[in-house]
Subunit: 404 residues, 2 copies
């Protein structure tokens, strides 16, 4: 599979000094909350509304109709990378999430502590959701006693509760490694080196290490074994700066989003979390970059918590903070989300995501309020999210003509 | 890459006597000119408005979101050819633009006269933009003195200023030939036969001819060398008539558009330029053809000149001329553009293009005025331009059912 559209855009991209700001309000989209309206519809947003009146509105589809995106694909499509072509293994995303400085020779996997019975069968795939402190204590013990084969370094990092990240570092490691998590209880963990992975020396190493771990953890009451899945190497993808001839930087308070940016070589400028700080740092970053990705997490958090009032409040916070970003006068400003997180679902959803774009050379008449319904009849239309950055580049004069 | 959609339509196409007219107002689309509205929004167009009230409206995307099309891709997509699949080299488009009768064995390239200094480095890639007359004089001199290898004919045709077209004709010519234009000054011209083109005998011939040209032009003060680029053969594409089971003809006053039509085997009926003549000739052509492509250039010209008032006037001219076409009562009439040319940009742009279709079996209620904003909510929706002709064919009963 090829990213035909992205490659076309890359072939047309030219550098100039126009500056594009992409403000992502995580999980921005919503459904209508039993007729009360979406969070955006209910929010009082005078600054967003002023932008809507003079800007362009539309809806973006992060991956495909009906498909709920994870944070990785949700952001990659906003960065102009087809999320079906640029798929990244769970292990790498987990490593990015704990901000592990992954190298190209590393292999990463997601670990779960689990509970085995005396026969060696899994009784709890999450080891009773042990607290973070217990997770950390056990990882210290493991690191002290594991003896990896020569030339292989082992890194173990706590994520939260029963979750951790495994990174193997060494020359010639491969990621042709099976998940050892059978995704069910009552059976033993799987071998990493089983078919079709049995030719992998790294899978043998994983099995050896997990065997050692089982011995080391034998006296633990709950977390007496590890399950591993999503073995993956850092992908070798075209760097964002080369692909789109932009000088990019990220402003993001959460490790996962900094990590996704770093995946495509976008360096981190600052790590603020509040709406006011995000806008302020993004404005600073615009002084010396032609693409600034600014990430605001709390809209998604409120959605995940099922907190509609909280989501409305977070949107209003960002609206109030916007002048701090607008004063830097980006040539093109995109305000959108990486996916929808409706409070009524308490999770990411498949719904399209509203987008607002301020840019030169627009057509008028899109609407007076920024929400899912006004966006439906906006001039951007409903487009794949991966087409949004190229559209912004067109408005910024950063794409050459196709054909004579 | 395959034109999956176009091939599907081709497999469903059947001939009948219904007649489709495609009226292209070149560069029709616009942006909102700082709130004053697009040219179409400002134009008084009673005939177009009457058609809008009873017809179907929509927007077409010539190539892809954010991509500004050249005239070639802009028209190919209107003819139902995926412009990303059917890409034609610059040399062929240049030859079509001067109406050179290109044959399938020919190789064409775009030439620039340039100025070399005594060391052989380029000092001006456009030879001071010499006047057309000087261009013609020098080409006569070159033609008289060049001695091509046996079996190869050389054609040289003035385009304008420093621009000309080179065509080589002979058996077994290939187009694996590098550009000799280095796209910069201070360096010598490149070899046509350099890597990865060094296996090409035709590239060797090009280098030999350009070497001769340098000798012949040595005494010219400005145009003392030629740079060549975009070597290409006439593409071997399916003919429009076979692909869509239509009997087609073109009505177009400008060589480039007649040329693009001829690329897919559409013959030329007449070459008028004014709106009244275009409509009149298109009406005549409908008497004996099932597809008439009629081209009106001046909307684009006004856009390229940054002349908003002029663009409005050209639209109104075409509106006034429309009854001359309507009297031939085409079964399906499409009125659209090949791309947008906003006067505020003075060039082709990436914006979608408004389309109006009069046809049987429509749904009602699209709008009272033909412009970019009413088209946004029309029944055609926003579709790739390559889907427009198939839609017209459906309304004309020219497509069989898919599947039982």
């Amino acid at each position: 599979m090829e990213d035909t559209y992205g490659n076309l855009i890359s072939s047309l991209a030219i550098a100039n000094d126009k500056r594009i700001a992409l403000l992502v309000m995580d999980g921005l989209g919503d459904c209508d909350n039993d007729g009360a309206g979406t969070a955006l519809q209910q929010a009082r947003t005078p600054n967003l509304d002023a932008l809507a009146a003079s800007g362009a509105l539309g809806l973006i589809v992060p991956v495909a109709t009906g498909v709920t995106p994870g944070s990785g694909p949700g952001h990659l499509s906003l960065f102009g990378y087809d999320p079906l072509v640029y798929q990244v293994g769970r292990g790498v995303l987990s490593a990015l999430g704990v901000e592990f400085p992954l190298e190209s020779r590393d292999v990463a996997a997601r670990l779960n502590f689990c509970t085995l019975d005396k026969a060696g069968n899994i009784t709890d795939r999450r080891a009773g959701r042990i607290p973070d402190s217990e997770n950390r204590r056990i990882l210290v013990k493991l690191k002290a006693r594991l003896s990896p084969p020569q030339g292989v370094e082992v890194f173990l990092v706590t994520e939260a509760e029963h979750r951790a990240v495994l990174v193997l570092r060494g020359q010639d490691l491969d990621d042709n490694i099976g998940d050892t998590d059978p995704q069910q209880t009552g059976v033993p963990p799987l071998l990493a080196a089983r078919e079709p992975h049995s030719n992998s020396r790294t899978a043998d190493t994983v099995d050896e290490l997990l065997h050692q771990a089982q011995g080391i953890l034998a006296d633990e009451p709950r977390a007496n074994m590890l399950l591993a899945r999503g073995f993956a190497k850092h992908p070798d993808w075209p760097a964002f700066a080369d692909r789109f001839k932009l000088k990019p930087v990220a402003v993001a308070g959460y490790p996962m989003y900094r990590g996704v940016a770093r995946l495509i070589g976008i360096p981190v400028f600052a790590a603020p979390t509040t709406a006011a700080e995000v806008c302020c740092k993004a404005a600073e970053a615009l002084a010396d970059h032609t693409f600034v990705f600014a990430h605001f997490k709390y809209t998604d958090k409120a959605g995940e918590d099922g907190d509609l009032a909280g989501k409305i409040k977070r949107i209003e916070e960002m609206d109030a903070a916007l002048p701090g970003l607008l004063k830097a006068a980006p040539d093109v400003l995109i305000i959108t989300g990486d996916h929808s997180t409706p409070p009524s679902i308490k999770a990411h959803s498949w719904h399209s995501v509203p987008v607002l774009m301020k840019a030169p050379f627009l057509r008028g008449g899109d609407g007076r309020h920024f929400d899912e319904v006004t966006c439906r009849s906006g001039q951007i239309g409903t487009i794949p999210a991966k087409e949004l950055l190229p559209l912004a580049m067109a408005h910024a004069g950063k794409l050459e003509k196709f054909g004579a």
